[in-house]
């Protein structure tokens, strides 16, 4: 993933101004802010509230409702690992246990500027699980080696090819 720019209120205002005329502009604005900065800085709350003519509490409440929006920057590599039923049936919990034991990596704990691992529920790859979305690219048929490699910034494409070679 490309490095995200630091918080910049001027850029944030430009984004909000560009999108505010949309009907139901809130989610498009929040996605655009997160795409730009890698997170939605709490400093964006008053900017959004003023532009949409809502209270700061309403703006904050909306942001915090959705799992997607982060309040702090993510790592350069973002691994969203599926832990829903179809991936459970293919052993995703055992896989995570193994990765935890071997590499000390767990989802949903604060990472560093290199790595963020998040739980998601279903990536729509239920016939080829366990799956993860790595920097926006889908990887199927994960095993512990490949997941650890991906967490260490390994090549997504290599992991996809290796998944395809898993019979």
């Amino acid at each position: 993933m490309t490095a995200v720019a630091g918080w910049n209120e001027e850029v944030a205002r430009e984004i909000v101004t560009r999108l505010v005329a949309l009907d139901g502009a809130m989610l498009p604005i929040l996605h655009a802010l997160q795409d730009e900065f890698g997170y939605v800085d709490p400093a964006a709350v008053p900017v959004i509230a003023a532009a949409l003519n809502i209270s700061r509490a309403e703006a904050h409440g909306t942001i915090s409702f959705y799992h997607d929006f982060r309040a702090a920057p993510a790592g350069r590599r973002v691994v969203k690992i599926c832990r829903a039923e179809a991936c459970q049936a293919n052993g995703c919990e055992g896989l995570l246990d193994e990765v935890r034991a071997r590499a000390g990596l767990s989802p949903d704990v604060p990472g560093d500027d290199r790595l963020t691992i998040e739980t998601v529920y279903c990536l729509g790859n239920c016939a080829l699980g366990p799956s993860a979305l790595v920097d926006g690219e889908l990887v199927g048929r994960l095993d512990a080696d490949r997941l650890i490699g991906l967490c260490a910034n390994g090549s997504v494409e290599d992991a996809q090819v290796a998944a395809g070679e898993t019979k």
Binding site: E85, L133, L138, E157, A163
Partner: protein, 518 residues
């Protein structure tokens, strides 16, 4: 003349290396001086054979899969450009057993065409339904829908035509069509595959809905876990606008219909229709009490038809080929076809579109080939995280809405997740509550509090603490959640729990395990 090679760019195919395979084939063709044209398509849904490469030959499109980059040179050596024999060859894709046993209506084009080529779409029968709709009165379109028997494919199975008629008869200065593409149920991926493989079909269905009820604007709410579908859908909307399929005058009819794709933000509850509308409006995705129903007061308080991707995508063929033709598929009050999705621990997972009435066994054993692990099937969850867990002795249940309701289960969105005998059903039941606790919108008490209490109660049961008393608490909790929750999230969470308890009681009565010393 160059040989046409079809390689999916469906996210599932990409997840097992389709991009590298496409590049490797292009390089190999270049180095051998072979003239090829690579067309990127959706997936046929034969997911266990992905990446599945098809080559256009005189005997049809010959399929090879699963192809890895290291196989490519060998495929060229074997003459795959002319359909040559190879260990990965499956013959013409249209004659493969997996394909000929299906009733591909909604998914007829998925995997066959370039998803964002409007010419391809038209050449394969696209827009015929919309053209017919333009010449019809709104009420007649709704009548066709009624005659087809189409019921909501999102899971609830509510007759689609009733929503449409209600919105048609409402008078307002603005009406909306909203497509629910927040396909959050685990084990389902049909909406994703359709949006990535045949986005114009959904656009056509929504435009028909707009003409039918007098709505000039539409939104497709796509979950953020589907970035590929969002991109393909957005590209297709752009193409459709340029070509005049969407815009101020749909196909020159003088009637407007404009469409926007919007991205969700990781909230499962936003698949519930009123919560989705709140989210589209830019608010917390909190469920609304009904009435008022969305068909009368929906998006921004205006009359709104809100349907699932598969419901809207079924509409064009109903108009193009007649409602009767669609209704001939299926059984009893479940008419037409449902794209089933087979996933989890299964040997041959993928998408199988069938008329209602086949059995679960035909899908899981006939198509799926049993478990991937090779162990016996113990449980099958049908209909997503709110669907029942069924034991192996219920596999002969016919796949129709009423037959499933009769055994305390539901078809939902057609997702089927297979588990082998290593599954711990007490864990699965606990997960159902845990998921509800995490994803509840928090508006109603039975769901918000009940899910948390459910996790605690199951933990006590598993730990062997006052088991009989806690079974009574669990039973009570399930009744309250079922009867008193505002929407299906809280109302149906007891379904996986109670079905696990009913069919697999031994998993809840094991001797308690001592906590392992740290």
């Amino acid at each position: 003349m160059s040989v046409r090679i079809f390689i999916p760019k469906d996210a599932a195919a990409l997840s097992v290396g389709a991009e590298s395979v496409a590049r490797r084939i292009a390089e190999e063709a270049m180095s051998r001086g072979s003239a090829v044209e690579i067309v990127r398509t959706g997936s046929r849904g034969i997911l266990w054979l992905e990446p599945l490469v098809e080559v256009e030959t005189s005997i049809g499109r010959c399929a090879y899969g699963p192809v890895a980059p290291r196989d490519v040179a060998g495929l060229f050596d074997a003459g795959f450009l002319t359909g040559g024999a190879h260990a990965l060859a499956h013959g013409a894709v249209e004659t493969m057993d997996w394909m000929i046993r299906q009733n591909r209506v909604t998914f007829a084009r998925v995997g066959a065409i370039d998803p964002v080529s409007l010419d391809d779409f038209r050449a394969h029968g696209g827009l015929a339904g919309l053209e017919r709709a333009i010449a019809m009165r709104g009420a007649d379109i709704v009548d066709s829908l009624q005659a087809s028997g189409l019921r909501g494919r999102g899971g609830a199975g509510f007759p689609t035509w009733i929503k449409w008629r209600t919105a048609l008869e409402a008078s307002a200065d603005q009406k909306y069509i909203v497509c629910n593409a927040d396909e959050g149920d685990s084990g389902t991926f049909a909406d994703r595959m359709l949006m990535e493989g045949d986005p114009f079909l959904l656009i056509e269905g929504m435009a028909i809905a707009g003409l039918a009820v007098g709505a000039t604007r539409g939104f497709i709410y796509i979950r953020s876990e589907y970035p590929h579908a969002f991109r393909t859908m957005s590209d297709a909307i752009g193409v459709a606008e340029k070509a005049g399929v969407l815009g101020g005058s749909v196909l020159g009819s003088g009637r407007a219909f404009r469409l926007e794709a919007r991205l969700g933000a990781g909230a499962y509850i936003c698949g519930e229709e009123t919560s989705l509308l709140e989210s589209l409006e830019g608010k917390r995705g909190v469920v609304r009490a009904k009435p008022p129903i969305p068909a009368l007061q929906g998006l921004f308080g205006k009359p709104t038809v809100i349907n699932n991707v598969l419901s809207l995508a079924a509409v064009p063929s109903i108009l193009a080929d007649s409602a009767q033709a669609y209704a001939e598929y299926g059984v009893a009050r479940s008419r037409g076809t449902l794209p089933f999705q087979i996933g989890g621990n299964v040997k041959r997972g993928g998408l199988v579109e069938l008329a209602f009435g086949a059995t679960l066994r035909e899908l899981i054993e006939g198509f799926g080939g049993g478990t991937r692990s090779g162990r016996p099937i113990r449980a099958v969850q049908v209909g997503g995280p709110l669907g029942a867990y069924l034991p192996a002795n219920q596999l002969d249940t016919p796949l129709d809405y009423e037959a499933f309701a009769a055994i305390g289960a539901m078809l939902g969105h057609g997702g089927i997740v297979v588990f082998d005998d290593s599954v711990d059903m007490a864990k699965q039941a606990r997960f159902a509550f845990e998921f509800c606790a995490k994803e509840s919108c928090g508006k109603c008490t039975p769901c918000r509090i009940g899910a948390v209490r459910g996790v605690e109660t199951l933990d006590r049961i598993v730990a062997g603490v006052e088991r009989e008393k806690n079974f009574a608490v669990l039973d009570d909790l399930n009744k309250v959640m079922t009867d008193a929750s505002l929407c299906a999230m809280g109302g149906l969470t007891p379904m996986p729990v109670m079905s696990a308890l009913r069919h697999f009681p031994e998993d809840f009565r094991r001797p308690p395990q001592r906590q392992a010393a740290e």
